[in-house]
């Protein structure tokens, strides 16, 4: 992973992704950061990656697309974002929309420094 921010449009998308990551909305006040902003947290027994840190972002970003055993389907990173927003009680994220691209940029850049490791198998 070597995602540059050398072009101003790259930097702009990264900063928009960061904005989106911390955007609280909906009836539950949830943002991406609510669940993915701290180390060592979990929902029920499911470990949550801290996507603001290098290690968490690397682990999460580099393992999509993934085969989800519980769903019997191959899922994309776009789908992962879509499903997070569903659980955040947001309206439906449009695939390939600017918000999805911005968040992808934000997380990809945060994951710099390790080898891309997809496709993976997840629960």
């Amino acid at each position: 992973m070597t995602v540059a921010l050398s072009h101003p449009k790259e930097e702009q998308m990264y900063r928009l992704g960061e904005k989106m990551f911390y955007f609280r909305g909906g009836p539950h006040d949830f943002a991406c950061a609510t669940c993915h902003g701290e180390d060592g947290k979990r929902i029920r027994l499911q470990d949550l990656p801290n996507l603001t840190g290098t290690e968490g972002a690397q682990k999460a970003y580099t393992t999509w697309p993934a085969y989800r055993v519980s769903q019997g389907e191959l899922r994309s990173f776009q789908w992962r974002l879509y499903d997070c927003f569903r659980q955040q009680r947001f309206p439906e994220l449009i695939f390939a929309s600017d918000a999805s691209v911005a968040l992808t940029m934000f997380l990809a850049r945060n994951a710099n420094g390790v080898a891309f490791d997809a496709p993976a198998i997840k629960r």
Partner: protein
């Protein structure tokens, strides 16, 4: 390089930089609003107005994960505390058994949920409560023995109900939803969850 040449170079340099300067915070904010508008579509009960932030959501988003200043925290806690509505009958404790069901229920308000179906609080997603339930999350603190440790008095009852009703009244930019304020739970459900924490017979206090 003479004086005139360096002026020309400077002008050229600033033109180049002008096209390639990093966006200002104002530009990012304007672009973020446009991005939100174009990136989501309404689906069932999850309409687009869910993207319109109230003051609390907006202030907390701007912090980008950092804790609020004393002044901002005081402002958020005041507007939220002023908005708490306590039950007209003065009773804050309902049925802890029903409260346990609400604490276990994760459905409600997602576009994939039946709008006529159950709406829970999903407390166990983030908190330990009754010790029999081993599958609990850790985003929030353990609430095991909530009442036993604090006492079962009227003030603690009022705090527990208020905290569930509107968490931002007590901890600005808390991760916890405002279950009463935002219309997630109804009054009876709020009483039932309060009882789960505050009834001496509740397994939480065993």
């Amino acid at each position: 390089m003479n004086g005139r040449e360096s002026l020309v170079s400077l002008a050229l340099l600033s033109i180049t930089l002008g096209c390639a300067t990093a966006p200002s915070s104002e530009e990012i904010a304007a672009n973020a609003a446009a991005m939100l508008k174009s990136s989501f579509k309404a689906n069932g009960q999850a309409s687009l107005d869910r993207l319109n932030q109230d003051e609390t959501q907006s202030l907390c988003s701007q912090l980008a994960g950092k804790p609020p200043s004393k002044e901002v925290a005081a402002r958020i806690e005041k507007i939220n505390r002023d908005a708490i509505k306590y039950p007209a009958d003065g009773k804050l404790l309902g049925d802890w058994k029903n409260g346990e069901k609400i604490a276990q229920e994760g459905r409600g308000k997602q576009f994939s949920d039946d709008p006529a179906g159950p709406v829970g609080a999903n407390c166990y997603a983030c908190h330990q409560l009754a010790p029999q339930e081993l599958s609990f999350g850790t985003i929030g603190p353990s609430l095991y023995q909530f009442g036993k440790l604090r006492g079962y008095g009227a003030d603690t009852q009022r705090y527990a109900y208020g905290k569930i009703y509107n968490s931002e009244a007590y901890a600005a930019c808390s991760n916890m939803p405002r279950f009463g304020h935002s219309g997630i739970l109804n009054e009876q459900q709020l009483k039932d969850v309060t009882a789960l924490l505050m009834d001496p017979q509740s397994p939480v206090n065993k």
